[in-house]
Each structure stands twice: as C-alpha cells, then as structure tokens.
Amino acid sequence: MTFEIFMQQLANGISIGSLYALIAIGYTMVYGILRLINFAHGDIFMMASYFMVFSMVNFGLPWYVSMVIVIIATILLGVLVEKTAYKPLRNAPRMSIMISAIGVSFLLENLATYLFTGVPKGFPDIAILTQAISFGNISFSVATLVTPIITLILLYVVQFITNKTKIGMAMRASSIDFETARLMGININRVISTTFVIGSGLAAVGAILWGSKYPSVMPLMGVMPGLKCFIAAVLGGIGNTTGAVLGGFILGMAEIMLVTFLPSLTGYRDAIAFIILIVVLLVKPTGLLGEKVTDKV
C-alpha cells in the first residue's frame, strides 16, 4: 500500500467518523436527560435526507436555502416525535417509552416506504461539497475535508450550550434529578425539547454531509448508521457528548482501517461496530469517558 492510499483512507476514516459523531451526539444527549435510547434517531436522519431531496430536486431550491429548510424541518420532526410519542409517557415505566421509540422508528420507516417507495432516490449533488481537491497524488472531496471541521465546531457549540448557558445548566441539573429541577422553577419540558432540537439539528447536518458521500436515499438508510452511532455513543460513554464524538471517530477509523489493511474482510465492515459493542459491554460498560451510570431519582 502506498502512502497516498493510506492518507486517503485516513481522511476517509476521520470523515466517516465525524459523521457518526454528529449522529451519536443526538443519542447521547437524549439518553442523558431521559435515560431513553431514542430508536427513532436514525430514522430522523433518514427523513432529513429525504427533505434534502425534496427541497433541491422537487422544489429546485438552491443548496444553501435547502440546508436551512432541512435543518428546520428535521428539528420540527424531532420535537414532534418527542411531544407525541415520549412526553405522554413521562411518568410511565422506562420500558414503555423505549417501546414507543421503537414504534416511532417503524412508523417513520414504513411511512417513508409508503410515501416515497423503496426505490432509492439520488441525493442531490451539492457541487461545493462534492468537488475534489488534490494534494499531489492525493485527492479528497470537499465534504471529506470539511466534515471533521464542522463536527468539531458543532461539538464546541454543544459544549458551550451545556456548560456555559442557563438552559445548559438546567439540562445538566435535569439530567440527574427532574423533581428537584422543577423545584428550582425549571421547565422540564422545555429542557427536553431543547435536547431534541440539538440532537435533530445535528442529525440533519449529518444527513446532508452523508448524502454528499453516499448519495443514495432509502427508507431503511437510517437503520445501520443509527445502530452504529448508538454504539459509538456507548463506546464513548453514553450521556457524554465528547465521548460520543470520540466513539464516532474511533468507530469510523476502525471500519476504514479494516477495509484498508484487511481488504479481504471488507464484507465484515458493519460487524466491527457490534464487536466493539460486545467488548465495551464486557470490559467497560460505562464507556471510555462515561461516569458511573446513576439511576435517576
């Protein structure tokens, strides 16, 4: 293998890793506050991809307008799911809300199949993202290069919100004790909605960047990335946003390195995530940066 190929694959790994990271943040934040694995998160990501197709292909809007519309629409969808499927179960046993999340996941997948058919749609070409830049013999798409940068900027923004703002303080407080948070005058529903706004917004950004790399949009396209990103969140320590990003990078890197160094095992690429999950659960269930998982009062 040449140095060029290695560099190329390294960039690929970092880039796919940051896509996982963007989606993993949504899982980890929702888990942090509701102790819920939001099974619908991968399908929200899928819907964001369809929104982009409709906005650019069907309505012919320019990419920059479409991005804004897609982010807003995805956020609205995420919050709608929370309000209709999770909020009514706020005081129900945790298993009920988990099952509700699985239900929403199936609903979105089947709704997409019904409305958009199972035939893959092409993700619109965003020239500014798909054009190639070359360094000597190595060439990358702009998307590959900007994805990690965008991810780190968004991680910084999320960190800033959680650690430096009033609503972020309320989120951290609510994540360990809803009732006492209410005694402080915190509106729990607003805190939870904010979490879904952030998670869905990041999933939308992830979908746009994802489509520029893998331009095929299908109703079940969110399933595998959803599972992998959930695993990335567990690997990093669920509930911890930095951990989610770290887990995403590690998972992306591991996949690409397998393909690079052991090309004969390429078919097992999707299995890596699950092997990592098993190892983490056996060796360090709290994940790399996770703290002791406290059951919420």
Binding site: M169, S175, I176, T180, L183, M184, G185, V297
Partner: protein
C-alpha cells in the same frame, strides 16, 4: 401567609394526608413534627405542587394555589429544601446556587454574597462539584440554593437528617438567622426537641392527621408529646 384547609392527599388508593388544617403566619417559624411515614413530606410536596391533592385548599398570601404547577408556586415565593438535600452533584457549588435563582431575571450577585456570608464554607468550595461535599455542607448548599430564589416562605424537609450533632446545632442556628432576616419558615423534623425550641408554633402529625398543636413551648411541655417524640426527657 399560608393557610391549609382540609387537605387530603392520596397515592393511588392509599391516603397519606387525611384532612389537615394548618396556618403559617408571616415571619414565623412553624414546625410540623411526626414519626416516619406520618405524611410530613407529602404535605410539603403538595404545597410545592409536586403532588396534586385530592381535595382541600392551599392559600398563599390570599391566593388559592391548590394544584398549581411547581414553577408557578416557586415564582410566587415558596421554595422547598427537599428531604435528603438533593443537591445537583454534577454541578459546582456556585452553579447550584445560580440554579436556585433560575426564575430571577435581575442580577443575583448580592444573593450569592449573602449566601456566602451565611455559609463561608460554601465560598471556599464554590468551584467544587456539589457531589464531593460532606453531608453537612450539602445541607448548607441545599438551604443556600433555596434562599437564592429570594423566597417569602421556605419549607425545609428534615434538614438535620443524618447529620452529626454539632452540625445539626449549626443548621438550627441558621434557621433562626434566616427567619430573623425576614423569611417565613415551615420546618419538618423528626428531631422534635430542637424543632419545637426554634418554632413559634408547632403541629403534630400522626398517620395523616394533626393530633396536637400549640406554641413550641406548649408542645415541649405537653406530656403526650414528651412521651411520643421527646423520648429521653422522662428518664
């Protein structure tokens, strides 16, 4: 300031509070004593809006606040220092204080300073995570956090629970001090002796009903109270 009229509270089919009447006059310290499971916490949690009563009325400063949302009740000037302190372990001491003032729009620097004057220990530890504080310090923080809302009425659920005797005395001194500064206090205690000594008026709660009431001194001298709650005094 606070009037409770014929309050009933049920958990599912079990009734925990069975028609109590209480009154907390402005600027006073009123205590509610009673054994474990008598319904003391339930009463406070109902006033704070965390639990909805099945019947009865809670009137605060002439306004019926029965069944209102906790946020509205906090906004009206009632705060609760919950049983077991419940400080936010993952927030710093300073953040715990700031979050106590969550609904306040104006500058809170003065209030932070006042709390630090009352509890110098908290100032030394303002950057520490609340989860790393000792039990006594956490109780100070829970009280300080409640004060940050500038409440008119502060309700405390067993602030002395699980603390060393020396620290318990400190907590009761602070309660008197807070009251002197103009805040009305509704105090729940199993430590009846100390509670009745600081209280202007007291109620005795037994399995959801008020069985005795009187000034702190009257109850301290009452034979039945001595028997049931001041155990050692007879020896």
């Amino acid at each position: 300031m606070l009037e409770i009229k014929n309050l009933h509270v049920n958990y599912g089919g079990i009734s925990a509070v069975k028609g109590i009447n209480m009154s907390v006059p402005e600027k006073s310290i009123v205590t509610l004593i009673g054994a474990n499971g008598a319904g003391k916490s339930t009463t406070l949690r109902t006033i704070a809006g965390l639990v909805k009563p099945s019947s009865g009325e809670i009137i605060f400063q002439g306004e019926n606040i029965t069944g209102k949302d906790t946020i509205d009740i906090v906004a009206k000037g009632i705060t609760l220092v919950p049983e077991g302190r419940r400080v936010f372990a993952n927030l710093t001491v300073l953040e715990n204080l700031k979050i106590g003032a969550y609904l306040r729009k104006e500058s809170i620097e003065d209030s932070i300073k006042n709390v630090f004057d009352l509890f110098p220990r908290l100032k030394e530890r303002s950057w520490q995570l609340a989860g790393t504080l000792s039990g006594g310090e956490q109780q100070m923080l829970a009280v300080g956090r409640a004060l940050m809302a500038k409440p008119k009425l502060i309700m405390m659920d067993e602030p002395s629970l699980g603390l060393a005797p020396l620290i318990v005395n400190g907590i009761f001194d602070i309660i008197k001090e807070i009251n002197k500064l103009g805040t009305t206090i509704l105090l729940i205690e199993q430590n009846a002796n100390k509670a009745l000594k600081v209280a202007d008026y007291g109620y005795v709660l037994e399995t959801g009903k008020i069985t005795m009431e009187g000034t702190g001194l009257e109850l301290l001298k009452n034979e039945k109270v001595k028997d049931a709650y001041l155990g050692s005094s007879k020896k």
